[in-house]
């Protein structure tokens, strides 16, 4: 609008937007990159150095005496401290406090006349004139420069061992019906509020608008009491999927009715009236005319509700419980933050699995999301 294409002001605009975009995407990028890194590298260097060779202090424990092999009257344990990761050993020692005691190729004398040698490629050899005894292997500390390594190991780990896989299924189980049921219920109500005349209509619309902002916190305790009561009377568990589906339905309805009513009220009156003249009932008008025409609004709400139920933590914690079997992804992630707070390879991979579904939904259906946001917030037909 103001300023021509190449004026200095335009450059400032480009640079500021670039800076903001970087600021906004960097945290997520860091998470994604970190989740793909080797866990030792992740713990010892920042993710922004992921492409460069890193220097690490590593402690390796050699196999115990059961691995010794007798050759030429000597007893030998051999292996590679770097495993198969590749890299270079620049110094090593026999205690973790002194990782730079020896140079590669040097030998250290251990107890009972045995010697330990570590080469720069990581190969080590413990040679003893007598049979090695004891049950633990020798510790070898070393400084190594290790080339960048990307792996899916972290994902394998969290999907199987950390229960993220089963939580993923739980989240799907919660989110899909919690999205479909309120749409069904709300569409009919929205039609009634938009196109039927009856006493009390304005009052109900006002109520829906008011309920839009009622904090969830108000409902938690009374509903928990009802659920516990129902559970006791009928002898069923109080925390069930059915319970949480209905809870999400109840909490999602005000927005659903509001969005759909606004949209339906904006449909042209002539279509409705000509159908009515042709003898169509309200039910037929709704099913055959209004519902298909309202598809964009239905899609907008469906995306909102799916994102909200997938990302929800509070409702799931209260109405589904925090047991290992029923944890949804968000709940699992909170648990991992507590129990594995320092294990960033687990946290980053778990977090990425948690956010990948909403991100996919977001990038493919952004159009509908934006439209829904605008209908919900900016006043319009």
């Amino acid at each position: 609008m103001t300023g021509t294409k190449n004026s200095p002001l335009m450059w400032v605009v480009h640079l500021s937007v670039l800076l903001i975009v970087v600021l906004w995407t960097l945290p997520t990028a860091g998470l994604l990159i970190s989740s793909l890194r080797d866990k030792n590298q992740l713990a010892s260097s920042g993710w922004w150095t992921a492409l460069s060779t890193s220097t690490q202090n590593v402690v390796f424990r050699a196999p115990g005496p059961e691995a010794q092999v007798e050759t030429d009257g000597k007893f030998v344990i051999a292996g590679n401290v770097l495993g198969n990761r590749g890299g270079q050993v620049s110094a090593w020692g026999t205690t973790p406090t002194k990782p730079s005691e020896f140079q590669p190729g040097q030998s250290s004398t251990l107890r009972e006349g045995s010697t330990l040698t570590v080469q720069s490629d990581g190969a080590f050899e413990i040679v003893s004139p007598t049979k090695l005894e004891g049950n633990r292997g020798q510790r070898i500390a070393f400084v190594a420069s290790i080339p960048p390594r990307f792996t899916l190991d972290n994902y394998r780990e969290v999907l199987s061992a950390q229960g993220i896989g089963s939580s993923f299924i739980n989240s799907l189980t919660v989110a899909i019906p919690s999205t479909v049921i309120p749409i069904l219920v709300a569409a009919f109500a929205a039609y009634a509020l938009a196109w039927m005349k009856f006493p009390g209509r304005a009052l109900i619309i006002a109520m829906v608008v008011g309920l839009l902002v009622v904090p969830l916190q108000m409902s938690l305790i009374p509903l928990l009491k009802i659920y516990n009561g129902v559970g006791e009377i009928f002898g069923v568990p109080s925390k069930t999927y059915l319970g949480i589906w209905l809870a999400h339905t109840g909490f999602g309805l005000p927005l659903a009715i509001y969005l759909l009513r606004n949209y339906m009220a904006g449909l042209p009156r002539e279509i409705m009236e000509s159908a009515r003249v042709d003898g169509a009932t309200d039910f037929e008008i709704f099913l055959k005319i209004v519902l298909p025409l309202s598809f964009p609004a239905l899609a907008s709400f469906a995306i909102f509700q799916f994102l909200w139920t997938w990302n929800d933590l509070l409702v799931a914690m209260v109405f589904l419980g925090a047991g290992n079997e029923e944890l949804v992804l968000t709940g699992r992630l909170v648990n991992l933050l507590g129990s594995r707070g320092g294990n960033w390879e687990i946290l980053t991979a778990s977090a990425f699995i948690t956010i990948v579904v909403p991100l996919l939904v977001f990038f493919t259906l952004q159009r509908f999301l934006v439209r829904g946001l605008l209908a919900g917030s900016v006043k319009g037909g």
Binding site: V13, L42, G46, I169, A192, L220, F283, L314
Partner: protein
């Protein structure tokens, strides 16, 4: 996997159930009040009667769910806030008296007020700034899409992302949290940011601002596009510069939208729970009302009285916005 099948089964059953309900109830209504057959006067009366009942058939399920899940709980919460921990005995105002004497509650209220001041203001400001800037460049839509992205991320996921940003290592070792790495690079001392009382609140707020800016941006951007070209052209002809156009022409025109954005984020802030639970769980003086309420719901088997009293405080804070919203909706309905 089995539960997913159960979910799909329930969903299909629910869809069929709904169809049967709406179709069946309408069918029965038409049976009771037939609009054809008999004399014209009777048919007319039947149609009128059926049309009086039909809206309630359409509204029925939604009204029942709204009342059961939102309206009734509001009143029950009010009752519970005057009850003891099990919610059975009336104890008068003692929950409220306890609450206002409780150090944690006062801490939460103060923190919540800070959140209310900072987050909506910051998110709206950044949203507006980005909306104006991206409007002028060819890759604006890509930029917007990337800034909007955090909207899709759960608060817990965002908490993990930011906990990683704030990660703290001993000064002797390499930092893997980018914030501390930057601080160290500039020659500063690394800090465990989220454990510093008072200031940690701002590090938590940053997360919510990060999430909500996209929302503000999208809505304000649409509002800016709605400003008639002629207004701005007229201002340009009159010799107004960029800042004048922005503050004197654009901002006043989208004032209503700014208010909507601001109040929407305000309500979200009042309910903020996941971020605090995942980041600090209220430690290091970062407690907020919603997390405190959750805490009391389950602490030591749960204290429903105190939990409900805290929920009422959140509700009271929301009521002004609620009234304002209803008024606006009414005004708009009359306009139709």
């Amino acid at each position: 996997m089995q539960q997913l099948l159960y979910a799909i089964f329930t969903m299909v059953a629910g869809v069929i159930g709904c169809a049967i309900y709406f179709f069946g109830s309408n069918f029965i209504l038409d049976m009771i009040f037939p609009s054809n057959g008999g004399d014209a006067a009777k048919a007319g009366r039947n149609i009128r009667r059926a049309n009086m009942i039909r809206p309630w058939l359409f509204l029925g399920p939604a009204l029942i769910a709204l009342v059961l899940y939102l309206v009734y709980p509001v009143f029950d919460s009010i009752r519970l806030s005057f009850s003891d921990r099990t919610g059975t005995h009336f104890v008068g105002l003692s929950n409220y008296i306890w609450m206002f004497g409780d150090a944690q509650f006062r801490e939460s209220i103060l923190n919540n007020l800070m959140w209310l001041l900072v987050v909506p203001a910051a998110a709206t400001f950044f949203g507006l700034l980005i909306a104006v800037l991206t409007d002028r460049i060819w890759w604006g839509n890509i930029a917007k899409s990337l800034i909007f992205m955090p909207m899709a991320i759960s608060f817990v996921g965002a908490a993990v992302i930011w906990k990683f940003v704030y990660d703290y290592r001993d000064a002797a070792t390499a930092q893997i949290g980018i914030l501390n790495a930057i601080v160290v690079w500039f020659g500063g001392e690394p800090h465990a940011w989220i454990t510093i009382p008072f200031w940690n609140n701002f590090f938590l707020m940053a997360i919510l601002v990060w999430i909500q800016t996209g929302f503000a941006m999208v809505i304000l951007s649409a509002a800016l596009r709605g400003i008639p070209e002629e207004t701005i052209e007229a201002a340009v002809i009159d010799g107004a510069n960029g800042f004048q156009i922005f503050f004197k022409i654009m901002v006043p025109q989208i004032w209503g939208t700014i208010a909507v954005v601001w109040t929407t984020i305000t309500i979200l802030v009042l309910k903020v729970f996941d971020v605090v639970l995942a980041m600090t769980n209220g430690q290091w003086q970062s407690q907020v009302l919603a997390n405190l309420m959750f805490d009391w719901m389950f602490r030591g088997g749960g204290d429903f009285g105190r939990g409900a009293a805290i929920a009422i405080v959140i509700m009271v804070l929301v009521i002004p916005i609620m009234i304002w919203n209803i008024r606006n909706a009414r005004k708009e309905m009359e306009g139709h």
